[in-house]
């Protein structure tokens, strides 16, 4: 795993390329409510309760760009990834793939275009099958190659692309014979086997050792650049999102609170929650180099219940700047810069902010 390739996005391409690239996968007002049945005392009525896991999510995944979805556990970020993978059905809202609404029927075709890399490579590979099996299955299912030799060539090519070289060394290995990083590379190769144009990566490196995380992230970055693939990078680590992604979308309690280019969001966070997240992230530069510490927003408390979410802005019970309007009305996405929006009443035009 070398550091070859252009690596992370240069800031210049972030700004200019945003609108130029076509959006391949678009989420429009995507909402997912889970129903939980609560069994009380025997004989009493079964109570149904709704978990508001994700509400009104708007996302655009563009070719050759990485979009990071950042949030804490319970923020709904994985729910969004699963919705986009169509592993679960949205309660309302639309998924649009290459300009066409994704219908219920063409799931096979959809999976041909949109593939997923899961968090845990120890769980996502079948322990009784070898690498060859894991890669030939999707090649055959998606009819990427016909005939033994062609399938073999494609599988070799896939392994080479994820830097498992030489392929012959890995083909017959079982998952337990591989390290965590190698397993995740096999999982990425398996996703690539379908020939997708969109890759959904749900915390692809959080189970890996720190020293090999960047190797896997850089590999995904290379795929973005060389294959012109659209990537969704779901993570709780905002520093890695800043490093790896072109745009960042921050979620809190099932809603998008801020989105913009990764540098804009991390350097000029506009939503108090994003500010909190950045202040809480481990940051040796700040601690050790007497850097000017940004004013720190901190509150106690945790993510609210998604069964009975707070009225108005979901962050208001923890927000140090909460105003009366925050408790009653849901803030819409206000523009705070070029391609940078924040759902916060403080950012309402006319309140005196840029």
């Amino acid at each position: 795993m070398t550091a070859s390739g252009p690596g992370p996005a240069a800031p210049a391409t972030v700004d200019t390329g945003h609108a130029a690239e076509p959006a391949i996968l678009v989420a429009r007002d995507l909402t997912k409510h889970f129903t939980v049945r609560h069994h009380g005392q025997p004989g009493t009525r079964v109570r149904r309760r709704i978990v508001h896991a994700a509400e009104d999510i708007n996302l655009e995944l563009r070719a050759g760009k990485v979009t990071a979805l950042v949030g804490e556990s319970g923020s709904g970020k994985s729910t969004v990834a699963r919705l986009l993978a169509r592993l679960i059905r949205p309660t309302s809202g639309q998924i649009i793939l290459e300009g066409k609404p994704a219908g219920r029927r063409q799931l096979h075709e959809y999976r041909h275009k949109v593939q997923v890399v899961f968090q845990d490579p120890f769980a996502s590979l079948n322990p009784i099958h070898n690498v060859r099996y894991h890669l030939t299955r999707p090649v055959k299912v998606h009819r990427r190659a016909h005939g033994k030799a062609a399938v073999q060539d494609l599988v070799d090519h896939l392994l080479t692309r994820v830097k498992l070289e030489p392929p012959s060394r890995f083909l017959e290995k079982l998952p337990h014979e591989l390290s965590g990083g190698q397993r995740q590379r096999v999982a990425i190769a398996r996703a690539l086997a379908a020939g997708p144009s969109v890759l959904l990566a749900d915390e692809p490196v959080s189970m890996l050792d720190v020293s090999i995380r960047l190797g896997v992230l850089n590999l995904l970055g290379e795929l973005r650049d060389t294959e012109h693939m659209a990537l969704l990078y779901v993570t709780h680590d905002i520093a890695s999102a800043r490093y790896f992604a072109d745009t960042v979308t921050v979620m809190y309690a099932g809603r998008v609170v801020e989105s913009g280019t990764s540098l804009a969001v991390t350097e000029h966070p506009s939503h108090p929650y994003t500010q909190l997240l950045l202040a809480a992230a481990p940051d040796p530069d700040r601690a050790l180099l007497t850097m000017a510490t940004p004013a720190v927003v901190t509150t106690t408390g945790a993510m609210p219940s998604l069964i009975t979410p707070p009225s108005g802005c979901r962050f208001h019970p923890r927000c140090p700047f909460a105003m009366p309007v925050c408790t009653t009305q849901l803030p819409p996405q206000f523009d705070v810069g070029e391609n940078h929006t924040a759902a916060c009443w403080l950012r309402q035009p006319g309140r005196g902010t840029a």
């Binding site: 795993m1 070398t2 550091a3 252009p6 690596g7 992370p8 996005a9 800031p11 804490e72 556990s73 390290s179 965590g180 190698q182 050792d209 720190v210 020293s211 090999i212 995380r213 960047l214 190797g215 850089n218 709780h236 905002i238 520093a239 890695s240 800043r242 490093y243 540098l263 991390t266 108090p272 997240l277 950045l278 202040a279 809480a280 992230a281 481990p282 940051d283 040796p284 700040r286 601690a287 050790l288 180099l289 007497t290 850097m291 510490t293 940004p294 004013a295 720190v296 927003v297 901190t298 106690t300 945790a302 140090p320 700047f321 105003m323 403080l346 950012r347 309140r351 005196g352 902010t353």
Partner: protein, 382 residues
């Protein structure tokens, strides 16, 4: 403690005495020729009131080291050598107890009362069918039989207040608490008998960053107030750089570098430490391409010869695959200042630039207290 807030190297000032000294500790899993050497010849010193961070990847032996020095290893873990000197009395610094030679009864006296552990998984560390109060008072009843029931209950409430939980949670069960609160209860339990040493094994790994920040702040505040020493084990070096006074980096069962946090951050001397530092993207400045470390962590059942890091090291020399480098001061270190196990640091003149950076850049600054303050631009918006 005084060690914090001063320039990095002063954490070893004359006033701070060692409370725990580990020397030459070796831990194997299994016996005989097939044994896996999980910890090899580990040296570690914990001073009074100091936070020592132990960093390493999974399988580097950092937890085994902690469990070995407290003799909590389960079979097939065996301690095969070394000394762990505990100096319980600050007024008698020469008096020490070797934890590895102490009798079981003496260990029972020392554990929890003097050396407490906060385990990684708070859900597994707490008993799910007992209330928080029952678990807190149980410790007190076992170690302080002279306390009355009412006094134990009062102490339990006090401990919860200490970690920022209202005492009405005493009646609660672990499943009624959030992950962060469970971890706070674990910390309260560890502090119940006012130990001198608290070992924390990945206490925040399963928590969200915001909760993690709150808990770390709490640990720092409690350490400042109560003066205990902390051995903090984690895989997250970026966390330790903020929290710890001194950091020891482990690789494949050996401590490969130990230095003050500021020194390690500004001027790593071991290629592995330098590689780890290049594995964390920064939150500031221009985005630079980072490489991580090539290759994979070694298999301890079949470790590489010589320096275990040599197959992944960009500076590897023929010597590295043959001889294990000793943990020794690098050529430019002040006495007793820092240690590194790398052949590049044996005094040769042509050290790579990356591994010979000056330390002066890394002055340790105390992290400003985290308080609720208005972010300037957000305030302007009001």
């Amino acid at each position: 403690m005084t060690a914090r807030g001063l320039p990095a190297s002063s954490s070893l000032e004359p006033g701070s005495q060692p409370v725990l000294e580990v020397s030459g500790l070796c831990v194997d899993y299994g016996r005989g020729a097939g044994a896996t050497h999980a910890v090899i010849d580990a040296d570690l010193v914990l001073h009074r009131g100091e936070v020592v961070g132990l960093a390493g990847e999974s399988g580097s032996g950092k937890s085994t080291l902690a469990y070995g020095m407290t003799r909590l290893l389960r079979a097939p873990g065996v301690i095969t050598g070394g000394h762990v000197l505990f100096r319980p009395d600050p007024d008698r610094p020469d008096w020490s107890v070797d934890l590895l030679e102490a009798g079981l009864e003496q260990m029972r006296e020392l554990r929890w009362r003097e050396v407490a552990i906060v385990f990684q998984s708070a859900m597994n560390g707490l008993n799910p069918v007992l209330t928080v109060e029952a678990q807190l008072t149980d410790t007190l009843a076992a170690h302080r039989p002279e306390m009355s029931r009412a006094a134990r209950r009062e102490r339990a409430a006090e401990l919860l207040r200490l970690v920022g939980i209202t005492p009405d949670r005493l009646r609660g069960f672990p499943h009624e608490l959030s992950g962060g609160m469970r971890q706070r209860v674990m910390i309260a339990m560890a502090l119940a008998l006012e130990p001198q040493i608290v070992i924390m094994d990945e206490p925040t790994t399963a928590l969200d960053v915001v909760t993690q920040r709150e808990i770390l702040q709490q640990v720092t505040d409690l350490r400042d107030r109560l003066g205990f020493s902390v051995l903090f084990i984690t895989h997250d070096l970026s966390l330790l750089l903020e929290l710890a006074d001194t950091i020891a980096v482990m690789y494949a069962g050996r401590i490969v570098e130990s230095a003050a946090a500021g020194q390690l951050f500004a001027a790593p001397r071991h290629p592995y430490s330098a590689g780890l530092l290049h594995s964390f993207p920064s939150l500031h400045g221009p985005v630079r391409a980072l490489t991580g470390i090539p290759g994979s962590p070694p298999d301890l059942n079949d470790p590489p010869s010589g320096c275990a890091f040599h197959p992944r090291c960009g500076y590897a020399m023929p010597q590295c695959s043959q001889q294990v480098p000793p943990l020794a001061p690098p050529p430019d270190a002040r006495a007793g200042d820092r240690l590194v196990a790398c052949w590049l640091q044996d005094g040769r003149p042509d050290r790579p630039d990356e591994l010979s950076l000056p330390e002066s850049a890394g002055r340790r600054a105390r992290r400003p207290p985290v308080t609720v303050t208005a972010a300037s631009d957000a305030e302007a918006a009001r």
